[in-house]
């Protein structure tokens, strides 16, 4: 499967925020996300970098 893990970058470190994410929708300074198991989270910030081959999405405070 091609889901990714979402990490939050803070103070130069990356912390796992949500695993197996399928859907991301940025908007209004927030990012809605939902994973394969239906778990949903909203993070206040922006997408910093996406690397699909590494299955990795990094968010950061806006």
């Amino acid at each position: 499967m091609c889901e990714s893990n979402v990490y939050i970058e803070k103070d130069g470190k990356e912390e796992l925020y949500l695993e197996n994410v399928d859907i991301l929708k940025p908007g209004d300074g927030k990012i809605f996300m939902r994973n394969l198991f239906g778990e949903q989270k909203i993070f206040e910030g922006v997408i910093k970098e996406i690397s699909l081959i590494k299955h990795k999405i990094v968010l950061t405070k806006g």
Copy 2:
């Protein structure tokens, strides 16, 4: 492989912009992207929606 195709949404339609994208880096109202073959593009706009299971990323003018 888990790369995605990037589409631009315009007037309710989605147009293919770059295939087999691995890396995306949003910033300053632009989105830098690079695909598996080293092809790079910069789009002026924002990420509207990402659906990794569908291998689909939709961008739109900011």
